[in-house]
Symmetry: C2
Subunit: 250 residues, 2 copies
């Protein structure tokens, strides 16, 4: 079985349109419902606008749009990016199903980055003022939100270390294992998966040139660490990929 077939196989889920509440959503164990009691889930359910669809390349919101809601990714994948004064794009994050995007706008009341679909995607919209009201009434939900934002800060700190101290090899390896772990969280394989983003987005996110990304993918394959076929990736030797052997030797 080649990589493409293997990946297609694990994506046979019930059609999205059939899900009309968080109760029935396959992501409920990693998404917001995680934080509320079953009897309070209805309240959360009622404020969520479900199933907004985005085509590849479409924007969920743009920088300077007024901040109204945060979004739970239900299917597909998004990237967020900011524009510097001189017009160059900085990809700031990738968001996979079950993850929450849009929390950057809270302090300014408008978004400071843009969110764009990397492929056909659906999101659930959670109006933020409603969410705040509800959070006051449901302490676990408030805590979960603090927690989500805190985790985002933690991840940014890890990225800070990656960008400031690690080689290009380490950055790519880290991206691959991070994506793999997030796949696993959703119940998919952490060994074989499809990258939703282009080499350009990877390079931009990791502070590298596209050519460098390409070269490293090729070399990792030659070294037997991974198998790559366009955007499909299989991790062959996780220990060496994670460092023990790539960093300090071969």
């Amino acid at each position: 079985m080649n990589i493409r077939m293997a990946i297609a196989h694990q994506h046979r889920e019930t059609p999205l349109a059939a899900r009309v509440s968080c109760n029935d959503c396959s992501l409920s164990q990693i998404c917001l419902p995680l934080a509320v009691d079953p009897e309070q889930l209805d309240e959360l359910d009622r404020i969520i606008r479900r199933g907004r669809a985005l085509k590849r390349g479409e924007h969920l919101y743009r920088a300077a749009d007024s901040f109204e809601a945060v979004y739970a990714v239900r299917s597909g994948a998004l990237k967020t990016y900011a524009m510097s004064e001189d017009g160059e794009e900085q990809v700031t994050g990738f968001y996979l199903p079950g993850e929450i995007v849009g929390m950057d706008g809270i302090s300014t009341a408008y978004h400071i980055s843009s969110a764009k679909a990397l492929e056909t995607s659906t999101v659930c919209e959670i109006p933020f003022t409603h969410l705040e009201t509800l959070s006051s009434r449901i302490p676990t939900l408030q805590h979960h939100f603090f927690s989500l934002m805190s985790r985002e800060i933690q991840e940014d700190r890890a990225l800070h270390m990656l960008l400031s101290k690690k080689s290009a090899d380490d950055r790519i390896a880290s991206l691959l294992t991070t994506i793999a772990a997030r796949q696993q969280r959703r119940g998919l394989s952490n060994r074989i998966f499809r990258l939703p983003m282009s080499r350009y987005d990877i390079a931009n996110y990791l502070g590298l040139a596209v050519e460098t990304v390409s070269r490293i993918f090729t070399r990792f394959q030659q070294q037997g660490l991974i198998r790559v076929e366009g955007r499909e990736v299989e991790i062959l030797d996780r220990p060496r990929l994670c460092g023990e052997g790539r960093l300090h030797a071969g």
Copy 2:
């Protein structure tokens, strides 16, 4: 008047020991009290443990300590840093008076980084469970906290761009102007100030070698952009320092 004298001059404030409540704190307009009505300030006041003192080099908390509180810096300055598996330090942030440190631990219930005093400092301790309870009752406080964390995320995104796309010159220039702006927020000069951190910390934070930081400080001075004398800095030509002229020319 030399740099040292100029800086000493603007630090004549009332002694810290005299301040027994947020009401009397000179930082109340940029710190937590900002978010609550005067009549509710008492409630906030009551949960805050004030005036914990730290000597230079002392830790406020260490990675893996259980997460109990967040802290408002009252005087002095702190740095936060994380340790990678291979034992190298990564400075993740600097915290000046009026700023909140320690929000990284919420999601894990233990701190993932350590916080250390860069100089003699005092902090106000805000037990987090109390803060959560209070936030449920005071919507503006809840919002303020979401907002604070959101701002932290925004700043991390800006740093991401800095590390991934900008030259060493840009990074140093950005650090200087950021510190200057934060000084101004506290009512101090945004032109002339003392850096609380060593060249090593700056280098570590910005992903550079100490030697590079040193060289750039020297060159910026030769170019007439700044005046440096150890940790004392005066910004002489903000426009060129900020880019228009340094980036695209001279």
